[in-house]
Amino acid sequence: MRFPTLSTLAAGLLILLGPVAFADPPAAKPHPGTTTDASGAPEGIQVPKPPFSEGIFPCSSCHDGKSMKPNLKRRELTDMHTDIVLHHGPASRWCLDCHDANNRDSLHLASGEKIPFTSSYLLCGQCHGDKLRDWRVGVHGKRTGSWNGPKQYLLCVNCHNPHTPRFQPLKPMPPPAPPEQIQTRKGGAR
């Protein structure tokens, strides 16, 4: 699974989710894989779709279990998905710790229970339980919509690339004009 750069992704989401009047972040392009549709995730939490790279999902279009037998050996990938850099937790971690070997269109928890990509927060919550708790009440992460009505949630992976989860730095928007740049205009006060 490939992920676009996080800043593009976050910016794209902002544009899609925000109702009006957004400052246009630089180089922002709505991501095709992301929509504002609620996908009816469990627990009644409204979530947008996971930010898949275009054409990457379903994974089973390649990993159908027939033309390619799953290789369960922990190794560095050399043929495909070489663009994915894994900077997440211990160095021993690898693809099939989260992705399911038998059904590539789903993830699996440590217990082996399969979960869809739309519920990936459950997988993240296995280690980051405090964040999951805060996310559920709307304190970690971002909520849009109405403060007294239906809200739009983002998945963990909408802001944190699961392979490189650290929030990527952004270019700041322009600073206010410093006092020395403020000049009186022709015609005085008026």
Partner: protein, 310 residues
């Protein structure tokens, strides 16, 4: 208006009232002349000049004022600008919490606010100031920089603290207003009646957060950038010479929406909700996180809180 000279000398727009005229005629002419004199020959209509404090207006008067404003804006910007008069929702007091551990100082909020709230682009007016501070110093205004502009934020060793109107429960700004042009609404939003403000700027001197901003010049707002969804006490286009401030996006929040700064924040640092609703996210923050009020020692009692979400 910047280079525009009055076409006639002050007080000379109207023919002088005839010596034998009635008292009524004289007063009418005098009023018009005064309005003209005060504004440089007739940018201010008689109705506007005689308009009372917003709080004293009857329902009908409010509607006629709004009607007049909408016509003015239509003439000025060439598009329909809706001026709402949505009242406070009963049982709601708005609260705001900002997560200092997550804000990265990207200033998306500053510019989203400018767009949403029809601030003057030139001269520049911004309601949110993002302060870059030293981690070693903590929240220390002696070590705050609002003009930082690196290639990327966050910068090593720094944290970021956006400051805007704190919507105090004891606002010093409303206390000092000599004409009562600014007050705290029932839902806790401190508002300004731009038509009643005399531009004395006492409120700016009184505010310890630098949250009030003055229109020193004629506000320049390009017509294609006007946000047509406005509120009388909020983001309607302002005239020159009045003070303005953050209203928690009164035109959005009184209709149930989040403020523009909450919606834009890429890190989800900004939390907003009803302080009286015990299930709201804002109450969760207040009850479960490490929270502080900015300049708490001044007893302004802000409804704007800072917290550490980690």
């Amino acid at each position: 208006m910047t280079d525009h000279k009055p076409e006639c000398p002050i007080g000379g727009c109207e023919p002088p009232a005839s010596v034998g005229g009635s008292r009524r005629e004289f007063l009418g002419a005098a009023t018009a002349a005064m309005a003209a004199a005060l504004t440089g020959c007739g940018t201010l209509s008689k109705e506007e000049f005689l308009q009372h404090n917003f709080k004293e207006l009857s329902k009908e008067e409010v509607l006629s004022v709004i009607d007049r404003l909408e016509k003015e804006y239509k003439a000025k910007y060439g598009k329909e600008v809706k001026v709402a008069n949505t009242p406070a929702i009963p049982g709601v007091i708005f609260g705001y919490a900002l997560d200092l551990s997550r804000c990265i100082g990207c200033r998306r909020c500053v510019h989203a606010c400018v767009k949403e709230n029809n601030q003057s682009r030139e001269p520049e007016v911004q309601w949110i100031r993002v302060l870059q501070m030293d981690k070693e110093e903590g929240v220390n205004l002696q070590h705050a920089d609002q003009y930082y502009n690196p290639e990327e934020v966050p910068q090593e060793g720094h944290f970021y603290m956006p400051v805007q109107c704190q919507q105090c429960k004891k606002p010093p700004c409303t206390k000092v207003c000599p004409v009562g042009a600014t007050w705290r609404e029932k839902d806790g939003i401190v508002v300004v009646d731009y038509n009643w403000c005399i531009g004395c700027r006492y409120c700016m001197a009184a505010c310890p957060y630098g949250a009030r901003h003055f229109n020193w010049g004629e506000p320049h707002l390009p017509a294609d950038q006007v946000n047509p969804n406005t509120h009388y006490l909020g983001n309607r286009p302002r005239p020159k010479g009045v003070v303005e401030k953050c209203t928690f996006c009164i035109q959005r929040t009184r209709n149930g929406q989040y403020p523009a700064c909450v919606e834009i924040c890429p890190t989800g640092s900004r939390k907003f909700g009803n302080l009286l609703d015990k299930d709201s996210e804002i109450r969760y923050v207040l009850e479960n996180k490490r929270v502080f009020k900015f300049k708490e020692d001044l007893n302004t009692q802000p409804n704007f809180f800072y917290f550490y979400g980690v």
